[in-house]
C-alpha cells in the first residue's frame, strides 16, 4: 500500500522533529531552576571559600556577569553543540566528565539490563500463565518487594552479606587499584580496555566488582519487567486468537511460546523506552551506593559541593539522553507494530 509506505517516514520525521521542542523545554526549565532561581551560582557554590575578587574573576570566566538573556542564548548554543558548560569548583568541561565517567555508567546499565531480562521475562510469563496460583502470588510479591525496596537498600544488603559476612565480593569501586593501574586506557570503558589488552586477571577483577552493582540495579528493573510481562500475557491469553489456537488443538507450551508470549512482548518494548528514566535514576543511586565511578556518582559529588554549573550541565545531559532515547524507542515501536503509526 502506497499510503502505508509513506506514513512511516513521515511518522519518523515527526518524532525526530519533536526532539527539538522537548530538549528546548527541558533545558529552559533546568536553566530557570539552576541558573536564574539561585541568583548567582558562583557565590552560591564557592561563596564562603573564595575572596570577592576571586569570585568576580570566576564569574567573568564563566560568563556569568553578562545579562541573563545572553547567558541563556549562549547556554542553548552550548547544548546544541553538545558542550554543556564547565564546572565551577574544579573547572572541568562537562563533556570531559561524560567522556571519563560515561563508560562506567554504560557498563553498569547494560549489565543491569541483562540481569533484569534474565529474571523478569521468565518469571513474568509464569505468573501470567498461572494467574492466582501459589507461584503467581510468590512472584508478584517478589515483584512488589523489588519495587518497594529502594535500590540502595538492596545494595547495602548485598554489601553486608556478600562483602561483609561472606567476603566473596569486593564491597565497592569498579576495579582494584592494581587493575586500574595496569589496564591501559583506550575506550574509557574499563571492561573493554581489559579485553583489548587480553589481561584475564583484570577482566575477572572487573567482573567481580560488576556483579553486585549490576544485580542491584537489575533487580530493580526486573520487578518492572515481571509486572509488565505478567499483565500483557494475561491480556493476550484472553485474545480470540488464543481461543482459536486452543480449538485447533495446539499444545499449551507451544501456545504460550509462539502465540501468547510473542504478542505480550510488543507492549514491553514500548515500556522499555520509559524504563530509561528509571534506569537512570537507579543508576545514580547504585553508583552512589557502590562508589561506582560513573556519571551519577559525579553528579552526587557536585551536588554535595553545591556546584550549580556542574549540576546544571549533567542534568541537562541526562535530559537530552532521555528525550532522544524515548523518541528512538517510539520509532522502533512504529517499525515493530504498524498500528502505532496511525
Amino acid at each position: 500500500m502506497a499510503s502505508a509506505g509513506g506514513s512511516l517516514p513521515r511518522y519518523i520525521a515527526q518524532r525526530l522533529l519533536l526532539i527539538i521542542p522537548m530538549v528546548f523545554l527541558l533545558t529552559t526549565i533546568v536553566f530557570l531552576l539552576l541558573r536564574v532561581a539561585p541568583g548567582d551560582p558562583v557565590s552560591a557554590t564557592v561563596g564562603g571559600r573564595l575572596s570577592e575578587a576571586a569570585q568576580a574573576e570566576r564569574r567573568a570566566a564563566l560568563g556569568l556577569d553578562r545579562p541573563l538573556i545572553v547567558q541563556y542564548l549562549d547556554y542553548l548554543k552550548d547544548v546544541a553543540t553538545l558542550q554543556f558548560g564547565e564546572t565551577i569548583t574544579d573547572n572541568r568541561a562537562i563533556i570531559d566528565i561524560v567522556q571519563e565517567n560515561g563508560g562506567a555508567t554504560l557498563t553498569l546499565a547494560v549489565a543491569a539490563f541483562i540481569v533484569a531480562l534474565t529474571i523478569g521475562l521468565p518469571l513474568g510469563m509464569v505468573a501470567g500463565r498461572f494467574r492466582d496460583s501459589a507461584g503467581d502470588v510468590v512472584i508478584r510479591i517478589f515483584g512488589v518487594i523489588t519495587y518497594a525496596a529502594p535500590v540502595f537498600y538492596w545494595g547495602l544488603l548485598f554489601q553486608l552479606f556478600f562483602a561483609g559476612a561472606l567476603g566473596w565480593l569486593p564491597a565497592s569501586g569498579a576495579a582494584s587499584p592494581i587493575t586500574i593501574f595496569e589496564v591501559e586506557e583506550r575506550t574509557h570503558i574499563l571492561l573493554l580496555d581489559a579485553i583489548i589488552a587480553g589481561n584475564s586477571e583484570a577482566i575477572l577483577d572487573i567482573l567481580e566488582h560488576l556483579i553486585m552493582p549490576a544485580c542491584t540495579l537489575g533487580l530493580l528493573l526486573s520487578g518492572i519487567f515481571i509486572r509488565l510481562v505478567r499483565v500483557n500475557v494475561l491480556q493476550s491469553l484472553r485474545g480470540d486468537y488464543i481461543e482459536a489456537a486452543r480449538a485447533r488443538g495446539i499444545g499449551e507450551v507451544r501456545l504460550m511460546r509462539a502465540h501468547a508470549f510473542r504478542n505480550a512482548l510488543v507492549p514491553v518494548v514500548t515500556v522499555i523506552g520509559l524504563q530509561v528514566a528509571l534506569l537512570m535514576s537507579g543508576a545514580i543511586l547504585t553508583e552512589a551506593t557502590f562508589n561506582w565511578p560513573g556519571l551519577g556518582n559525579e553528579l552526587v559529588q557536585y551536588i554535595n559541593n553545591r556546584d550549580y554549573a556542574a549540576v546544571q550541565g549533567i542534568i541537562t545531559l541526562f535530559a537530552v539522553v532521555v528525550v532522544v532515547v524515548s523518541i528512538v524507542i517510539d520509532i522502533v515501536n512504529a517499525l515493530i507494530d504498524p498500528r502505532v503509526r496511525y
Binding site: 539561585p38 518487594i145 518497594a148 525496596a149 529502594p150 540502595f152 551536588i303 542534568i315
Partner: protein
Amino acid sequence: MTWASRLVAPFRQTTGFARWILLAGMLLVGIFVILAVFAPWIAPFDFAQVRYPDGERFPKSAPPGGDFLLGTTTSGSYDVWSRIVWGSRTALEVVAISVILSVAIGAPLGLVSGYLGGSLDRMLVLLMDALYAFPSLLLAIVFSFLLTDLFGGGIAAAGVALTVIYVPQYFRVVRNTTVSAREATYVEAARAIGAPKRTVMTKYLFGNVVQNVPVIGTLNAADAIGTLAALGFLGLGIQPNEAAEWGYDLQRALDDAGAGIWWTGVFPGLAIVLLVTGLTFVGEGMNETFNPTLRKRRLRPFTLPPREAVAFEAGKGQVDL
C-alpha cells in the same frame, strides 16, 4: 445505598488475592500511621538525642538489646529504633503534603485543560509531557537542590520538591478522561440545557474524571516514600538537624557494612520496604477492585446435569405427552 456501604461494596466483591492484598496493605500502613501519630510516646528517645537525661552519652554502635531495642548508630550514636519511629512521622508528613498538593494542582488543571482544549491545552500537555518524560528522581534532585539551598532542608521543602514530579500524572489522567467524557451524552445534555462551562466541569465532569485519582494517589505515595529516601540517601531533602529520615540513616550506614555492623542499615531500610509495600498493596488492591477490566467477580459454581439423566428426562417427557 448509604455512603459507607457504597464504599465497601467493591471491597466485598473482591476475591482471594485482591482482598488479601488490600487487607495486608491497610494493616502495614496502619502500623506506620500509629507510629507516626504517637511517636512521642512510642519512641524512647528524641530523634537527635545522644545522651541520657543525666548527661551520660549513649554508647556508639551498640548492638540491639538493652536500652536500645535496635542498637545505636555509628555516626552520632543515635538510637536506631527512635529514629525509625520519628522517621515514619517525617515520611508520612512529606508524602501527605506532596500527594495533597499534586492532586490539588494536577486534577483541576487537567480538568480545565481537557475541557477547554485549544492552545492552553496544547501548551500544558507539552509542558507536562516534558516533565513526565524527565526521570522523576532527577527532577526531585533539581528541585530539592534548589529548595534546600533557598529555604533549608525542612519537611515542607521536601514535600514541595516531590509535588513537582507527581503533578503531571494527575494532569494526564484527568485530562485524558475529561477529553473522552466531554463528548459523552450527559455532558451534551448539560450543555443543551444551558449549563455554563463552570457548572459542567464542577457538577458533571469532576466526579466522573477523578475516579482513578485515589488509586494513583496511593501508588504515588508509595513512590514518594522511596524518592524521599533516595534524596536523603544522596544528601538532599530533609537535613539531619530538621527531622529523622530513613534514607539519610541508610547513607550513614553504608560505611558500617564492612565492619559487620548491620543494625544501622537493615532496620531503617526495612521500615522503607514495609511502608512502600503497604501502600503499594493498598493501591494494587484498590486497582484490582475498582478497575472492571482487572476485576474477577465471585462466580457460583455451576454443574450441568449428567447427560444420561437429561436424555431419560426428555424421553419421559415425550411419553407423558
